[in-house]
Symmetry: D2
Subunit: 164 residues, 4 copies
């Protein structure tokens, strides 16, 4: 662990499907690498798909990876999770993933990801989106998910917004 406390570092959640396409995995891995290069700590749900790819990217650059697991065993964590947190509370752990972060990057994803986007926005935590959900309320577009062009752009935006 570096001399600077991780608490002083920025914590960014990367969320997305437990299963994902090759493109999404590449995007997640690039996001993980970039977060680690910038000294951010990666928080995720600790499982496969986007979570695993993001952790892999972060570890390849020596970053810290936290996995907030839904089940009762640390064995559930993907091999790139350094800090497995064993919640045992099922999908309700989605709220913990985003509350533990200062900004969120969403890559693809299904309903679990959408619940995380919702919890983040409810708490006014910025959400950056890469090929993910978009929302309308009562027929009006709801633009609270900030679109990014690519992994670097997503990390730029997440770190800028997290620091404010």
């Amino acid at each position: 662990m570096a001399a600077m406390s991780d608490k002083e570092k920025t914590f960014i959640a990367v969320i997305g499907g437990g299963q994902c396409s090759t493109e999404e995995a590449e995007l997640a891995e690039a996001v993980g690498r970039e977060l680690a290069r910038r000294g951010a700590v990666l928080v995720c749900g600790g499982l496969g798909g986007v979570m695993k790819a993001a952790c892999k990217g972060a570890r390849s650059e020596g970053g810290t990876t936290i996995g907030i697991l839904p089940g009762d065993s640390r064995r559930q964590a993907n091999p790139y999770v350094q800090i497995p947190v064993v919640t045992g509370i099922g999908e309700a752990r989605n709220a913990i993933v985003v509350k533990s972060a200062q900004a969120v990057i969403a890559i693809g994803g299904s309903y679990g990801t959408l619940s995380e986007i919702s919890f983040a926005r409810q708490r006014n935590i910025p959400v950056i989106g890469l090929n993910t959900w978009s929302l309308s309320r009562n027929g009006q577009p709801e633009n609270s998910i900030i679109l990014a062009q690519n992994a670097t752009d997503a990390v730029d935006k997440a770190l800028n917004l997290a620091r404010n």
Copy 2:
């Protein structure tokens, strides 16, 4: 309590904002009344706005109302909640509201409601929408929220889908 166990009854969650417009409150109250007339048990988050209006409607017809509260005190419940469940787990209780139901009716609502819609869809629990969120994924409309025309239509659809 009637001779038939409530467990044999259908449990329907009504979700929506803790603050709401007069129109949404009227809609929620009508939904609550209709659910009670059909013998369904109403589950909700137990607070104000749509939750309170729905409970009020259900109680006016002698229905059973369950409030899954986020905080640590039953005093948080609106006065029409008969069964206050004191979770103390904050917004993570949103997952419990929908898991305890066999179908969900969403009326308006903000990000908390969206998290409940997400959790319901993740578990394949039908969601009926009245003037609420609509979703697109990767630019494609995602039609998993079933639109209803009015309170009676919403209750019809919820009960039909819950029984299958």
Copy 3:
């Protein structure tokens, strides 16, 4: 459901092992019956053993029974649970069982029961014990579990303490 709102009724949690001896089951059933006769609502973890016996007793006298389930399906509830609450948060639901009650009756039980006793005492909710845990702290007896002689005595004490 009776005219009086259940919310105005006293909610008493009955806690104990998911497996139990015949004697414990008889005691739990007697406690459930007595709670229902006095108009109290029974809250429990919704599973077998002491929980099932207590619910059975309460239902035999027309009482209301709430089961706060750890898993993801209402099918997990014992057949005497009227109001299954599906938490999906595993043993963390033990905190919800006791927070939803105004007093707690503990019958036998293992570590899960002990966690419930702990959560109740942490929130200053009275705990009445029947053949259950006793505690010492730093070598000094800790008498915060109130001993009862039998089912009727336990219910008397629980209702008296809950009303204060």
Copy 4:
């Protein structure tokens, strides 16, 4: 973060009161120091008292400290927590503290600590006690809390038991 993944390290929870005596704080700090020297990761509830002292000790030796917070803000963490996990689920987070560890060291403590001991024992996670609770069940002593003489002895026992 060292080259070896923290996941391969042993995670030990230190539990105890959010307020504590000077002696308990000294004991906790010594436990934290010793855990860090042996390369273990410290998990705790992230607040004051025993938790703060243990984190302080661990950080003084360059150890990793994880704080599983009950509230909704990382600001709640004591200054020696490196990895704040923001659960927002209140005392139900006690289950997460112990599930995330391979052994538990209990120092003094009140009912919250007792709930953590209970959850640990329920999952068969070893608990080492320093001046803490002792338990009897149905009048029979229950010796599942392993007594330690001092901080070093507690850490020895915790690491030995965690590795099996």
